[in-house]
């Protein structure tokens, strides 16, 4: 899990969060920071707060807590307002796959990926985001093919990323390679609807 990223309001603007409309300096929010592939938690700072913090870090002092009115996020689990962390999980082993994917009453998309695979690093977060948008109607299981080679071989994965759509233990759909958000949306909607 990454450390909280302190950003100027200006940075958040670049990613589409409105300056007006209720975001006070010191508020915690979920968004995408510059250079960060995963949704992460951020603290919106006023320029003065940001300067103070930067100066502290420069002098290698432990960053003090922000003024009382600002909630501070801790360096632990992802603080998220969306259902992101619940709808996506990493498969631990064969039995875990049986339990949480094959025997899951809900449809599950299985993302077979690898550490060494460049396109996987693009597809993964994109798919996670689209799954989260479906508000719990579909779940996402991530399988690292080097950690779970037997599982990948069993499901005839050859190239990565390979994404399987599973319903009631059966593979009902699949694709290989990167897809854009619209294509992913259609893929997921088909799985939920079918």
């Amino acid at each position: 899990m990454q450390c909280p990223i302190y950003v100027y309001p200006g940075y958040l603007l670049a990613w589409g969060l409105p300056r007006r409309g209720g975001l006070e300096p010191g508020t915690a929010a979920v968004g995408l920071a510059v250079g960060c592939p995963h949704p992460t938690y951020l603290i919106l700072l006023s320029p003065q707060m940001a300067q103070r913090l930067a100066l502290r870090q420069l002098l290698s002092l432990a960053p003090r807590t922000l003024p009382p009115q600002a909630p501070v996020a801790r360096h632990s689990r992802a603080f998220s307002t969306s259902a992101n962390c619940k709808s996506t999980f990493n498969v631990q082993d064969g039995s875990d796959f049986q339990d949480r994917v094959v025997n899951n009453p809900k449809p599950v998309v299985v993302d077979f990926h690898a550490q060494w695979c460049g396109p996987c690093k693009i597809l993964g977060p994109r798919l996670e985001k689209m799954v989260a948008k479906q508000e719990g109607k579909v779940l996402m299981a991530k399988v690292d093919i080097d950690d779970h080679t037997d599982l990948a071989i069993e499901y005839e994965v050859s190239a990565v990323p390979t994404v399987l759509a599973m319903k009631n233990g059966d593979v009902v759909d699949k694709f290989v390679g990167i897809k854009d958000e619209d294509q992913l949306e259609a893929f997921l909607k088909k799985l939920i609807g079918a």
Partner: protein, 513 residues
């Protein structure tokens, strides 16, 4: 749920063992072919055999190096040999290209800097994708794969041991040993094992090796030292005697000469006596200079041993079945059909005595063996005129006999050597030194003037020599070569224009058009 799963697995295990016992009792082996070793030779042999509809299995296991480095399926070439070596060599060449680029009009801030971790990550990622690719190929070709260390129980039975210590017995009609080799550590040098690394570790380092001493005069040593110099590291090669033993010695000295001009330091006729660790993780190496009779020391961040490779036979338990190995090298003795001293047991690749330690020869030998065993073929592997290339900063490619070997075989009166010093066109604008760019062709002097050997130092030597290897395989002669029109402007065309003999004593420097 998990308990049910475990019970199911245990039941299947018992059932499997029962089936194997029944088969063994009935005299039928479980597999038609079992290959021990999932490297270049092993995988090629297994996949070829499976094409004939045979039941094939591969055992592959990587014992971690003393430093703890380990890797996946594919063998030495894929993981700690040819592939990462060539990629890092390319990284170094790109560094030189960036320096040349200025002369060609590019605005590149000098000096250029290299980040080891970026290169290493990219290379390691590619290697891991190849590991996976091999795994998928085995699955596609219906070859059973076991990640186990194999040892012989009897001529048709292998005991496989997983990392966790779980044992599996596998029986096969035919067994092919293709376990390859591992780098040697000079155990007589104090501190060698504890503080030194080998090529097994170099390609998997996450951090830059820094100031490096490479001990050895083999192509492993020179190639590694070459790319380390190329990416900007302070690199020294320590050699006890001659460089590239077994290769044409005139070419070998041109290679090392170029490396010296390129920036690699050489400690010639020196051998290390001890390695000690200093504060801050630096290593102090002490060595003897045999020419001066002195003892010297220096500090390095990394010491890499490239002093030879030992065959991986220790854990195979070959004594149990009587497979004969060479008393000198420890490698498995095979005949022209890759058969060992025990019927139905064969060996291919680096593990075999008297064969080149090359991926393409292992692959070819493996495929031909499978065809002879299961495909009614009788074709034997031809180990003559095997081309190869040393990927030092200035590459050296060759095919056929060295000048020394030709003279020894036919006598100097019966051998004609054509040679030329040339300058690659690309070096001119870049103002690069081409002193060591040299070509030599060894021919028979008698009527036909058959070409016995071709040696080329220059950029892309491997690409150049590959085509000529076909000609030499077909018995090309000097007159035929002279009739071959060159492609212009290339370095390779200089081969078709060779006309100055060593015997004439004339200056062999040729100019372009």
């Amino acid at each position: 749920m998990a308990t049910l799963w475990r019970r199911r697995e245990r039941f299947l295990g018992v059932l499997g063992r029962l089936c194997r016992t029944v088969r063994a009792l009935s005299g039928k082996n479980e597999y038609d072919l079992l290959v021990i070793g999932g490297g270049s030779g092993g995988l090629a042999c297994a996949k070829e055999a499976a094409q004939f509809g045979r039941k094939v299995a591969v055992l592959d296991y990587v014992e971690p190096s003393p430093k703890g480095t380990k890797w996946g399926l594919g063998g030495t070439c894929v993981n700690v040999g040819c592939i990462p070596k060539k990629l890092m060599h390319q990284a170094a060449l790109l560094g030189s290209a960036l320096k040349d680029a200025q002369h060609y009009g590019w605005n590149i801030a000098q000096p250029v800097h290299h980040t080891w971790s970026v290169m290493a990550q990219a290379v390691q990622n590619h290697v891991k994708s190849l590991n996976w690719g091999h795994r998928v190929q085995l699955q596609d070709k219906k070859v059973k794969y076991f990640n186990m260390k194999g040892s012989f129980s009897d001529p048709h039975t292998i005991r496989g041991l997983t990392k966790a210590g779980k044992e599996t017995i596998v029986t096969a009609e035919n067994i092919v040993i293709a376990t390859g080799g591992r780098p040697k550590y000079p155990m007589h040098i104090a501190g060698a094992l504890e503080y030194g690394i080998t090529s097994d570790d170099l390609f998997w380092l996450k951090e830059s090796p820094g100031k490096t001493l490479v001990v050895g005069a083999s192509y492993v040593s020179l190639e590694c030292a070459g790319f380390l110099t190329g990416i900007g590291l302070d690199t020294t090669v320590m050699m006890r005697s001659i460089p590239l033993r077994g290769f044409d010695q005139q070419m070998a000295s041109l290679v090392t000469e170029h490396m010296e001009c390129y920036g690699t330091k050489f400690l010639k006729r020196c051998f290390p006596t001890k390695v000690e660790k200093l504060e801050g993780n630096r290593l102090q190496v002490t060595w003897k200079n045999t020419d001066l009779g002195t003892e010297e020391t220096d500090c390095f961040d990394t010491v890499m041993w490239a002093v030879g490779r030992a065959p991986d036979v220790k854990t195979l338990n070959l004594d149990a079945v009587g497979v004969k190995t060479s008393s000198e090298t420890g490698k498995i003795i095979v005949d022209a059909s890759e058969a060992t001293s025990v019927p139905h047991i064969y060996a291919i690749g680096d593990i075999t005595e008297g064969r080149p330690e090359l991926t393409p020869t292992a692959i070819a030998a493996g495929k031909l063996l499978a065809r002879r065993l299961f495909g009614q073929s009788s074709e034997l592997m031809d180990y003559d005129n095997v081309p190869t290339t040393v990927f030092t900063p200035l590459e050296y490619g060759c095919v056929g006999l060295s000048e020394e070997a030709a003279v020894q075989c036919y006598g100097s009166d019966n051998v004609e050597v054509y040679h030329a010093y040339y300058k690659p066109l690309e070096f001119t604008v870049a103002e690069r030194d081409a002193t060591q760019c040299y070509i030599k062709m060894v021919c028979l002097r008698e009527r036909e003037q058959r070409i016995l050997g071709l040696h080329f130092i220059g950029p892309n030597a491997g690409e150049v020599i590959q085509g000529f290897a076909l000609g030499i395989k077909c018995g090309a002669t000097y007159p035929q070569l002279m009739k071959t029109v060159g492609i212009h402007p290339t370095c390779a065309e200089e081969i078709t224009k060779l006309h100055i003999t060593k015997r004439s004593g004339l200056d062999a420097t040729v100019t372009g058009c």
